[in-house]
């Protein structure tokens, strides 16, 4: 599959590495070239400097032919905006988006964006660990 990831933080870089190892065609975007240091030396995909909320940057990243788009920057709003551009402007079949704020995650989930809130997931996980 052709996958575009926006945000090369710890999660983004690790996900890019895993997908690359599995043989997918991965392009990762970040506004700061310094973030790409997190990518494994064996990473065989493309790392591009660019802002994922900018249509032109997404085009350069090959969003038009992508099967999956994942938004993983630190900014909830940036993720939400990029995810919606990918879904509604470029018609990417699968769009996944990280939203820290659980209320916003709920709203965008109802608006058709596949959104995950690490806040909710992690709190729940730790609670289960403690209670088990």
């Amino acid at each position: 599959m052709k996958i575009v990831i926006m945000g090369c933080g710890r999660v983004g870089a690790q996900l890019a590495g895993l997908l690359d190892t599995d043989g997918h065609e991965v392009t990762i975007l970040d506004t700061d070239a310094y973030s790409f240091r997190r990518l494994a030396p064996t990473f065989g995909g493309t790392a591009l400097i660019g802002n994922g909320v900018d249509e032109a940057a997404l085009r350069r990243a090959g969003i038009e032919g992508a099967d999956v788009f994942v938004a993983l920057t630190q900014g909830d709003n940036r993720n939400v905006m990029a995810a919606q551009i990918a879904k509604h402007i470029f018609n990417v079949p699968r769009v996944i988006c990280r939203i820290y704020d659980p209320l916003r995650q709920e709203l965008y989930d109802t608006l058709g964006i596949e959104a995950f809130s690490p806040t909710t997931i992690f709190a729940q996980l730790i609670k289960e660990k403690i209670e088990s």
């Binding site: 249509e55 709003n77 939400v80 905006m81 509604h88 402007i89 209320l103 916003r104 709203l107 608006l111």
Partner: protein
């Protein structure tokens, strides 16, 4: 009207001032505590500290009964989300977003924001109007109807000079609405009206036909 302004920077500040003067009920949501304090000292209690993109904050300030939400922070993505939360969670009838990147105009419309204001585009339009050599100026775009009203000035070397209106090969679907000669009164163009150098023409066209129309009137 009850109007919520997201973003208490310069734009939000002066906007709130103007709207209060007009007698509206105004509330600013601003993240920065120092900005909030300044606004509240100067204008009375009109600013709440908080994130205007968060549903919880918007709930606290009664967004459900707001007539309008205007998002004027410096970040396009924040303005988009504030408008979407207002619209889809609180059913605010009218949302307005300030945008920096003019390309976001179409995207925001598609994503449910009612009105966008692009400072970049406004300055660009002002330049178009101020620069007299610019042969075609957009006056008004009726985007949902696919129509636009443009102003075209006949340049000195144009081959349309001295021709009758009916002789100009205009694209089907565009119409000359008014001719304003340099030193005479404006008039409605008739088929036998003769075009002269410097004539200002107001025309109705579509974005697709714009280039063809410009070529017909200003081509050499």
């Amino acid at each position: 009207m009850y109007i919520i302004i997201v973003g208490g920077g310069r734009v939000g500040y002066y906007l709130a001032r103007a709207l209060l003067d007009e007698g509206h009920e105004v509330l600013i949501v601003e993240k920065n505590a120092a900005f909030c304090d300044t606004i509240n000292e100067e204008m009375g209690s009109v600013c709440v500290r908080g994130d205007g993109c968060e549903a919880a904050t918007l709930d606290d300030i009664g967004t459900g009964r707001a007539d309008m939400l205007v998002a004027v922070t410096g970040d396009d993505e924040d303005n988009l989300v504030a408008c979407q939360v207002a619209k889809y969670k609180f059913n605010v009838p009218r949302t307005i977003a300030r945008i920096r990147n003019p390309q976001n105009e179409a995207i925001f419309k598609k994503l449910g924001v009612d009105v966008t204001v692009s400072t970049t585009n406004i300055i660009l339009e002002a330049i178009e109007k101020e620069v007299p050599t610019h042969p075609l100026t957009h006056l008004l775009t009726l985007s949902d109807k696919g129509l636009e009203i443009v102003e075209i000035r006949i340049p000195p070397e144009s081959k349309s000079i001295g021709k009758l209106v009916k002789e100009i090969p205009r694209p089907e679907g565009s119409k000359l609405a008014l001719i304003i000669p340099k030193d005479r009164k404006p008039r409605m163009p008739a088929p036998s009206t003769i075009l002269r150098e410097g004539d200002q023409i107001i025309a109705l066209t579509t974005p697709e036909l714009e280039t063809e129309l410009r070529a017909a009137l200003t081509g050499t």
